[in-house]
């Protein structure tokens, strides 16, 4: 069982691509057909579906998937509009919200500060992976930046609040 704290380890670009494919049929449609059509095995497909559900862009019940209204919007939007819709969803995810809260108080935030509280609950490897994925999603949503050389998160001036 996935706790809501966890972010599925998929690149946002693939979630955008997934909703584009889902939008090509009326839906609801069979999940297994989606896997076949895209030549994705379960280990690849499930985290993608999980991410699409977490962002409330798709629903999956009884082996069928369908896009939500916002999912349809994402599928048909240009890059800028997609990132705006993503930003609104992603900023509320617990790990990303915690990073934003701390960045709001200070200048920058070390990676260790973010990883440490996750370590006890998720173990070393998964804690690090969670933060890597949060970096990818947060950058894509233009919510914050992360400097790999320094190991610090920074506020970004990129998005209009």
């Amino acid at each position: 069982m996935t706790t809501p704290m966890r972010i599925p380890h998929v690149s946002i670009g693939r979630i955008f691509a997934l909703v584009e494919v889902m939008d090509q049929t009326e839906g609801p449609d069979d999940v297994f057909r989606l896997g076949q059509a895209l030549m994705l095995d379960l280990d690849e497909l499930l985290p993608l579906l999980e991410a699409a559900k977490l962002l409330d862009w798709a629903s999956v019940t009884g082996g069928d998937y369908s896009l939500t209204l916002e999912g349809e919007r994402v599928a048909r939007a240009d890059a800028g509009e997609r990132n705006r819709l993503l930003r609104a969803r992603v900023r509320g995810l617990p790990l990303i919200a915690a990073i934003l809260r701390r960045l709001g108080r200070g200048e920058r935030l070390s990676r260790e500060t973010v990883v440490a509280p996750l370590r006890a609950r998720l173990g070393e490897a998964e804690a690090e992976r969670q933060v890597d994925t949060a970096v990818d999603w947060g950058r894509q949503a233009e919510l914050f930046d992360y400097d790999t050389d320094e190991g610090f998160f920074h506020r970004t001036r990129l998005p209009a609040e």
Binding site: S11, G13, L18, V21, L38, D132, R139, Q140, L143
Partner: protein, 255 residues
């Protein structure tokens, strides 16, 4: 080709005239004549060893032909062709440079001043939906994102002709399809000045999905076997029946 063709009021952006390429005794390309016109998306298809990637490099001026001429709008070209920029199958990003630095790098060679380089790189990354990753290193990016950076690097140079060498072959099906559509969207976007493209691919389905004109090559030695104009309006549907009819015709030319 006669000189007369060169005073055409709408000259081709790029003309290959009787181009051959040999490596020692090996005939890679023999007597290829091909024009690339403004606002045209051309795909070159054929089996491995038919010289299509070599031809793309000759168009870019990365390698010289053994015989024949490469003509730009204003005459014969020698050395790098400034009207072109290339997208590679392997992305060809420098791992020690951040995404925006990779995109900006060729602008330095083109004599663009530093502040303008960064501005253009950021703007092009934004077009690709990657602005937030400007400071990421290639290793932090997925395959699809790396190729988006590769495409941004080419588009940022505002080439008249975008050259793409198997740009989707290293990506899985999901990412490849999404990126094909993004390239087509950008190609139709008024904010993108590049209006001609040459795509090298071994996927006939991909060629008919994307291109206005598909040139089929045979191997040993590489030479065009014929070409087909794809008269299907965009957006097209992958493997739509009207496209499959073109796929069938193109296979007929090659085998």
């Amino acid at each position: 080709m006669s000189l007369e063709a060169r005073v055409d009021p709408h000259p081709a952006l790029l003309s290959l005239v009787g181009v051959s390429k040999c490596y020692g005794p090996v005939d890679v390309l023999r007597d290829v004549t091909l024009d690339i016109w403004p606002e045209e998306f051309v795909a070159l298809i054929g089996p491995s060893g038919c010289g299509k990637s070599t031809l793309l490099r000759i168009m870019a001026g990365l390698i010289p032909p053994t015989a024949g001429q490469v003509l730009g709008e204003s005459g014969p070209l020698t050395g790098l062709n400034p009207d072109t920029a290339m997208v590679f199958q392997s992305y060809a990003l420098l791992p020690w440079l951040r995404a925006a630095e990779n995109v900006a790098l060729p602008l330095e060679a083109r004599g663009v001043i530093p502040a303008e380089r960064l501005r253009r790189a950021t703007r092009t990354l934004d077009l690709m939906g990657l602005k937030g990753h400007a400071r990421a290193y290639p290793r932090e990016l997925s395959g699809g994102m790396r190729q988006r950076v590769g495409i941004a690097r080419a588009l940022c140079q505002e080439p008249r002709i975008l050259l793409m060498d198997e740009p989707f072959s290293s990506l899985d099906m999901l990412t490849a399809q999404s990126l094909r559509d993004q390239v087509l969207d950008l190609w139709g976007d008024p904010a993108v000045p590049t209006k001609s493209a040459v795509l090298v691919t071994h996927s006939v389905e991909e060629a008919v999905y994307m291109a206005d004109r598909v040139v089929a090559f045979r191997a040993n030695p590489g030479r065009p076997a014929g070409e087909v104009r794809i008269d299907v309006p965009r957006p097209r549907r992958w493997n739509a029946p009207e496209l499959l009819a073109y796929v069938d015709r193109l296979y007929g030319l090659m085998v």
